[in-house]
């Protein structure tokens, strides 16, 4: 079996013709509700054996829920599942595993302080004693990793591995359980383009072995590049299933959103003014003692958007946190020529806001909003010391805040327009509009904005992008951090790429392409930088 693999991997064309292969998976009439929310409505899908099937849709379209049902993680309210033509009752993950299904979740299901080996064995042990199981697994793991380019150190602790390697452990877990069907949920979100390519090579190899793969993603390019067929989901419903060869990105986008979408942002060239933000030799060490930002220099001028590209976890988060005032660092940061405190009392979020810095944090749920607070309470969050919102030294002017909240939400087209609703009852896009209304309406000199459209529906993305560009056109400085390369390319006037705590290089969007940025994101710089400001 091992000997045949090589040939299979060399020729990506599957040995079995997809159009005639038997069905590996058939879902009929799957429905699932979470309380009042209908996540899946009467979904039907068929996937042929030995193919890669993509499922594409916006955030919240119900893709992950559907696959979690197939994996037995959630129970469907109704519907049937057929595996290899036979109806199976997938009551829990155990049943799914027994039916030959494996799943790589978007958020890995690994025990962080266990070794790779222990994670692979967990739940698939041989007998009650651990040592024999681990010994056996070690051998099999070696075999599997050779077979599929999945090398990992079996004794390494998960917390010491890169995300790419952690993902390999997840795949190995599924293979160890002899999965024939592999589901991957947004597998490339945390990977560099190079790591993603490696992953896709692995998937091709698996396909050549006759494995069936379901790839969930919201990236059209991935669908076009690796899948044989694709299903589109929108608002819990399946809108279409087509052969990848017969479709185009434009058609898929339209199917996802239900109308034509502009994938480009309409903006005029920037007219940068004086430097607003100047960062010199900024270094950030996190609470675990890991150096996250390693002496970064950067400048953002008035009237320009500097986009920071990079794979998640390369120091962008910490950079934003220091600038936003809730992480300490060393180095020099100047805003409007005045130096900021990086430690101590005057380095907190309050002081930053007083200096004209607004911050839309990367994590809307854990930082930007208090989900159990009403929208009006959230609209002053962080600015609650502002004299405008006070009745006297102690008491806040709640009536006035409600009125202001209503006005701001109206200007940002927040729906439903009800400031008394709790933040958690708004959709992702509308939650983000509340945060943006709060930060942009303060008329800041510098806007820090992290992942502005994560978990936001496409309609709201357009609106949010327009607001960011409009702020730039008012002559404000904007520092944009996003893991979506498309977003960086569309919005930025200048692009800096972060890798492992360093700025790998700066490029102008007009003079670069995704391949070059991808190389930089992987830590490889072999081109000329756009600005010469960086020292040797």
């Amino acid at each position: 079996m091992v000997s045949t693999t090589h040939e299979g991997r060399q020729t990506p064309a599957a040995p079995i013709a997809p159009s005639t292969a038997p069905l590996a998976i058939e879902l009929r009439g799957i429905s699932k509700a979470f309380g009042p929310v209908q996540a899946n409505k009467d979904i039907c899908i068929s996937v042929r054996k030995g193919t890669i099937h993509g499922i594409i849709g916006e955030n919240g379209a119900g893709k992950s829920t559907l696959m979690s049902i197939l994996y037995g993680f959630y129970k469907a309210d109704s519907g049937t599942v057929l595996i290899n033509g036979k109806e199976v009752q997938i009551t829990d993950s155990q049943a799914a595993i027994a039916a030959g299904i494996g799943m790589v979740f978007q958020h890995f299901k690994l025990v962080e302080n266990f070794s790779v080996l222990e994670n692979v064995v967990l739940g698939a042990e041989d007998g009650g004693l651990l040592m024999p199981s681990l010994g056996k697994a070690r051998k099999l793991l070696k075999q599997l990793s050779d077979e599929y380019e999945l090398s990992v150190d079996p004794d390494a602790l998960i917390e010491d591995l890169s995300v790419g390697h952690q993902q390999r452990v997840e795949i190995l877990k599924a293979l160890y359980r002899q999965a024939d069907i592999l589901i991957l949920d947004e597998p490339t979100g945390v990977l560099t383009p190079a790591e993603a390519d490696h992953l896709f090579r692995i998937l091709e190899g698996l396909k050549a072995q006759g494995k069936t793969i379901i790839l969930i993603t919201h990236k059209l390019r991935e669908i076009m590049n690796v899948t044989d067929s694709v299903s589109v989901m929108r608002r819990g419903e399946m809108t279409a299933t087509v052969s990848t060869a017969d479709t185009s990105p434009e058609q898929l986008a339209e199917l996802m959103v239900g109308r034509k979408v502009l994938l480009e942002v309409d903006k005029t060239p920037a007219t940068p003014g004086a430097p607003i933000l100047e960062v010199e030799k900024l270094t950030v060490v996190d609470s675990h003692g890991v150096t996250r930002v390693k002496g970064v220099d950067l400048t953002v001028r008035a009237g320009e958007i500097l986009g920071i590209a990079g794979v998640a976890g390369n120091g962008q988060t910490e950079l934003l946190e220091v600038l936003g005032g809730y992480q300490t660092g060393t180095g020099v940061i100047r805003v409007n020529g005045q130096e900021l405190d990086l430690t101590g009392k005057a380095s907190d979020g309050q002081s930053r806001r007083a200096r004209g810095i607004a911050h839309v944090p990367e994590d809307r749920h854990d930082e930007g909003l208090i989900l159990n607070f009403a929208a009006w309470e959230n609209i002053v969050f962080g600015y609650h010391h502002d004299p405008e919102y006070q009745k006297n030294a102690w008491i806040m002017d709640n009536a006035k805040i409600k009125k202001i909240a209503h006005e701001k939400m109206e200007r940002f087209d927040t729906r439903p327009l009800n400031e008394k609703l709790e933040a958690k009852s708004f959709s992702g896009g509308n939650q983000q509009k509340i945060v943006l209304a709060r930060e942009i309406e303060r008329n800041p000199d510098l806007l820090l904005i992290g992942q502005p459209t994560r978990g936001v529906d496409i309609g709201a993305i357009e609106f949010i992008h327009q607001q960011i560009v409009a702020l730039r056109d008012q002559g404000k400085a904007i520092l944009l951090v996003s893991v979506e390369l498309d977003e960086i390319m569309a919005l930025s006037d200048r692009i800096a790429v972060m890798f492992d705590g360093n700025i790998m290089g700066e490029r102008l969007p007009s003079e670069t392409n995704e391949q070059e940025l991808g190389m930089l994101m992987a830590g490889i710089n072999n081109g000329a930088d756009a600005t010469l400001s960086e020292g040797a």
Binding site: G35, P36, V37, G324, G325, Y326, D348, G349, Q350, S351, R352, R353, H359, P361, D363, D366, E367, G368, L369, I370, L371, N372, F373, E377, F381, G382, H384, H385, Q390, W394, I395, M396, N398, S425
Partner: protein, 366 residues
């Protein structure tokens, strides 16, 4: 979208939980061969049937309003202050020291001073666990629990070695002077022609407790500090983003909590015993947990829950007297209330949510 209307969340669920707790309390009474109906009658008669009983009920209620508010303040910052008992004990020491310090001319002077004494001592006792949690990450539940034991030993030591009247057999301080005597309901209501029982311990502290409840409401929902406390409680990471100092909020919320516990001593030490006795709080610090949970951390709920527990305490004492059921029955009821309103919340909530969901669907369908 909410699964349930607000009123169901705020009123219906606690009500069902309480009924469940009472149902199991009734079973306990049955199990020891007594009649729950007779027991309830005895309790109601004992707690509300006379101004003497009512006076005791309101006296206990006062205690529980203070401790309930205290636990709730900390809980709004998601700090579980299990050390109310120790903070009440220290508050008692503070009140006693103030009352014994000078020969007070009039209660109007003694009361504010005693309030400061009680609040400061209670707050100081809460400060240490709060600081350790905020700065050193020692879990506040464990440290406040330990501080209850330490408080008991510490106050016992002070009482025995410094405050005890020499030659006296009982472990208690000297009685406070007449100028530190707080007006009882009997004295307060006499001018209005109402004859409240002379021996009932309810006193002016009850009104101060109600004021504290109002102050709690203003603090939590109207002030900037309250806004910060709630923000911190809801999400520590968001609070950090907003520039709210976690150390400051932890320490302040716990000190307010400790101060409210300490304030309780004006009722039991100054108002009732008029001297410092050993183990003065009698569990009030723990009952505050049940009161806060039952009252949903809202002052109106807390006052009502405190009244319920005041009734249980006074009624329970009567049970011991007339029905030979041990006072500890109250602790059982207290445990059941905490269990059903606090830990088994979902047991009541989940079926109710389903019920409301089907009701709504049917309405839409029709």
């Amino acid at each position: 979208m909410q699964a349930m209307p607000k009123w169901a969340d705020a009123v219906l669920i606690p009500l069902i939980s309480i009924l469940l707790a009472f149902f199991f309390s009734g079973l306990t009474i049955l199990a020891i061969g007594k009649d729950p109906v007779v027991a309830i009658q005895t309790m109601v008669q004992g707690a509300f049937g006379s101004t003497n009983g009512l006076g005791y009920t309101l006296y206990y209620t006062t205690n529980f309003i203070f401790t309930g508010l205290a636990i709730a303040v900390a809980y709004h910052a998601r700090l579980f202050n299990i050390g109310g008992e120790g903070q009440v004990m220290l508050g008692g020491l503070g009140v006693a020291l103030v009352c014994l310090a000078i020969d007070w001319p009039h209660w109007t002077l003694a009361l504010p001073a005693a309030m400061v004494g009680g609040a400061v001592f209670g707050a100081a006792w809460a400060f240490i666990p709060a600081y350790l949690q905020a700065k050193r990450g020692s879990h506040i539940v464990i440290t406040t629990m330990m501080f209850n034991f330490i408080a008991s030993a510490f106050v016992g030591y002070i009482l025995l070695n410094y405050l005890k009247v020499p030659g006296s057999m009982s472990t208690e301080s000297a009685g406070f002077s007449a100028g530190a005597h707080l007006p009882t309901f009997h004295e307060m209501l006499a001018p209005f022609g109402i004859n409240f029982n002379k021996n009932a311990p309810a006193n002016i502290s009850f009104l101060i407790a109600l004021l504290a409840a109002f102050g709690f409401w203003v603090l939590i929902w109207k002030t900037r500090l309250g806004y910060e406390i709630r923000s911190f409680g809801e999400s520590e990471s968001a609070a950090k983003y907003a520039g709210i100092n976690p150390v400051r909020i932890t320490v302040i919320a716990m000190m307010i909590s400790g101060a409210l516990c300490g304030l309780m001593a004006i009722n039991n030490v100054m108002g009732e015993a008029e001297r410092l006795i050993d183990n003065a709080p009698e569990g009030a610090g723990f009952i505050g947990i049940a009161v806060a949970l039952m009252g949903r951390n809202h002052p109106i709920g807390i006052v009502l829950a405190a009244l319920l527990f005041g009734f249980l305490y006074q009624g329970g004492a009567e049970l011991t007297f007339w029905e030979a059921i041990p006072r500890e029955l109250i602790i059982v009821i207290q445990g059941l209330v905490i269990m059903f309103t606090g830990a088994l919340d979902n047991m009541v909530r989940a079926p109710l949510e389903k019920l409301f969901l089907t009701l709504r669907k049917n309405k839409k369908g029709a």
